[in-house]
């Protein structure tokens, strides 16, 4: 399997607290990889470390053969795009102004704007279905439209790898599906490698080519959703007893949670 990103013995700490310990992981090229796990498991930290927003305490991350620690800021930004968790921009910024920001890593002082920039912006807005919104102000958009515009900005960056940190957090069910369908289409049609952080296990199972479970700062298991989603493993990772069935529509595993099985929680509810 061809790797877009290889993580080797990665340890990340916030001060004294270790967030990730000795992670080894390969992100397959051209696939959708979903990082999943309970709150505080380190999934967002891992995604941000891959984009070098966290300095590792030890270990290494390679893009193909290149260690990311040796890349310049703009160089890295031409390889990996990031849709941050809860991104923000002024409400009076227009859609096109925001999408245009995605071209920054491709521009230099001497060459501030090129025809390629215009084409990339148009393609990104067309691909995400927001071309007709180009003059609208961000503050006037619905949550679903806004998230599409942010994805358009990341798309305009024209990176091989796109990282999305909980992109459907504040969206309703219809827009969650809409947004993740769009992300998968970008992967299937444009061959982008996608790394997603999702905390909804069923969405993770539905959209992942490869699923990675994290718990307490370590990778517990990884594989295809069908082989990974066992009741025992889910109980171990998420602390919940459940039944796993096959989604009759998409033929992906579907987890039906039954009850919280962590001892502390059980004790509290009993009392």
């Amino acid at each position: 399997m061809d790797k877009a990103v290889t993580v080797t013995a990665l340890t990340v700490a916030y001060g004294a607290a270790t967030a990730l310990s000795a992670i080894d992981l390969g992100i397959p090229k051209g696939k959708v990889t979903v990082l999943a796990g309970p709150n505080g498991c380190g999934k967002s930290t891992l995604l941000r470390a891959i984009r070098r927003l966290h300095q590792p305490k030890s270990g290494e991350i390679r893009l193909g053969d290149l260690p990311i620690s040796g890349l310049k800021e703009k160089e890295l930004a031409r390889h990996i795009g990031l849709l941050a968790q809860n991104p923000s921009a002024p409400g009076d910024m227009t859609v096109e102004e925001l999408v245009r920001l995605g071209r920054y890593p491709h521009q230099t002082m001497l060459q501030p704007w090129s025809a390629a920039d215009g084409e990339a912006i148009q393609a990104a807005m067309f691909g995400t279905g927001v071309s007709h919104l180009n003059d609208r102000r961000l503050g006037s958009l619905s949550g679903g439209q806004l998230q599409r515009v942010w994805i358009a900005m990341v798309l305009a960056q024209e990176t091989d790898i796109i990282c999305l940190d909980e992109p459907v957090n504040h969206l309703d069910m219809a827009h969650q599906i809409d947004c993740l369908d769009l992300v998968r289409r970008l992967n299937r049609e444009h061959g982008r490698t996608v790394v997603l952080v999702l905390h909804d296990l069923n969405l993770a199972a539905r959209y992942a080519d490869r699923l990675v479970f994290l718990k307490g700062g370590s990778v517990v298991a990884e594989g295809e959703p069908v082989e990974l989603m066992s009741e025992v493993l889910i109980e171990d990772v998420f602390g919940i007893s459940c039944r796993v069935i096959t989604d009759p529509v998409h033929e992906r595993p579907l987890c039906i949670p039954i009850r919280n099985s962590t001892p502390r929680f059980r004790a509290e509810t009993a009392a």
């Binding site: 941000r48 984009r51 927003l53 800021e73 703009k74 160089e75 890295l76 930004a77 031409r78 990996i80 795009g81 990031l82 849709l83 941050a84 968790q85 809860n86 991104p87 923000s88 921009a89 002024p90 009076d92 910024m93 227009t94 096109e96 102004e97 925001l98 245009r100 920001l101 995605g102 920054y104 890593p105 521009q107 002082m109 501030p112 704007w113 025809a115 920039d117 215009g118 912006i121 148009q122 807005m125 067309f126 071309s131 007709h132 180009n134 003059d135 990341v154 960056q157 940190d165």
Partner: protein, 340 residues
């Protein structure tokens, strides 16, 4: 989608509309600078002004035009432009549309330095005070930057909090000293309100390099500043080195505000109001926004300086009072229309 393609292929700052707008504003500025030479306690004709500038004969008229009116006709646009650009940078840096160089404590730091220089070193000449003011603004900016950056993050909120804290501290020092020393209050009150009157042309020449370097830094930072309008993670994801950009942006603000306060004292509200006008005219792209803010700021300060000569005619009001009244009212309108 022909409509979309026609606008997406050309960046906003290349649109012909902006160039025409800038040319128009430049022309207007030229007219105002001429009016600044012509209007005041006495009115002068174009012939008299031309003669005073090209064939100086030492007459009272020529002395007034060349030595009193000319410096302020030159200095007011410089100060206005400097504060306009500084305001744009501060508002983007702090992601706060009601921030200004005042918010960072730069004017308060300058005032404190002036009071200190006057009180302890006995400096009373305008050039001496202006050096003190510039040093005060620069030192304050380094302290505020240092403290805001100390925790590593230098979050916009932290910048504002540290700045406002220092502004409050310096202001109270100034009031304590001035209350205790009434002679100094008399001497410094006019300076503390901000004015372009009775300055020598040399002062403008001293400020010019700071203004130029500050403006060039600002224009150089235009693209990264565009991106600093988003959150930190997004900005870093796009390849902007936050610490470096914020450091240079701070330096630009320090140079511009330092030059302005050295020339005119603390002129309030220009740095706060002008960026709003600039954004209304050209949108959020910083390249256009900075040019527009420089022109609008220059116009605003020059107009305020002319108005200041007439509001309590035949005496003259401090220009800082005029910019604060006009700016305050304008801001109220903006706040009413939508959240500034």
């Amino acid at each position: 989608m022909p409509l979309a393609s026609s606008t997406t292929s050309i960046p906003a700052h290349w649109r012909i509309g902006h160039r025409a707008l800038f040319a128009g504003l430049g022309l207007l500025l030229f007219v105002l600078m001429y009016l600044s030479l012509a209007l005041g306690y006495r009115l002068y004709s174009p012939a008299e002004i031309w003669a005073a500038l090209t064939a100086f004969d030492g007459s009272e008229t020529h002395v007034v035009i060349r030595d009193l009116r000319l410096p302020r006709a030159v200095m007011a646009p410089m100060v206005g432009a400097a504060l306009g650009i500084a305001g744009v940078i501060v508002q983007t840096l702090s992601r706060n549309r009601i921030a200004s160089p005042d918010t960072l404590g730069l004017n308060a730091g300058a005032a404190f330095a002036v009071v200190l220089a006057s009180g302890t070193l006995g400096i009373s000449s305008l050039p001496g005070l202006s050096v003190a003011a510039a040093s005060g603004a620069l030192l304050t900016s380094f302290v505020v930057f240092g403290l805001a950056a100390a925790a590593g993050g230098m979050s916009p909120l932290r910048i504002v909090l540290v700045g406002v804290t220092f502004a409050g501290l310096f202001d109270s020092f100034v009031y304590v000293v001035l209350t205790a020393n009434e002679t100094m209050l008399d001497q410094l009150l006019f300076w503390l309100a901000g004015s372009f009157a009775d300055r020598k042309l040399g002062l403008a020449l001293n400020g010019l390099p700071f203004l130029l370097v500050g403006s060039v830094l600002a224009i150089t930072l235009a693209r990264p500043l565009d991106i600093l309008q988003t959150d930190d993670s997004t900005a870093r994801g796009l390849g902007v080195p936050l610490g470096v950009v914020r450091g240079i942006a701070f330096l630009a603000v320090a140079l511009l505000s330092g030059a302005a306060v050295a020339m005119a004292g603390p002129v309030m509200f220009v740095g706060l109001v002008v960026p709003h006008a600039a954004r209304a005219l050209v949108g959020l792209g910083h390249r256009s926004q900075i040019v527009a803010a420089a022109l609008v700021g220059a116009l605003y300060a020059t107009l305020a300086d002319i108005v200041a000569r007439f509001v309590i005619y035949p005496r003259e009001a401090p220009v800082g009072a005029v910019t604060a009244i006009v700016g305050g009212l304008l801001l109220l309108v903006l706040l009413r229309r939508r959240a500034a």
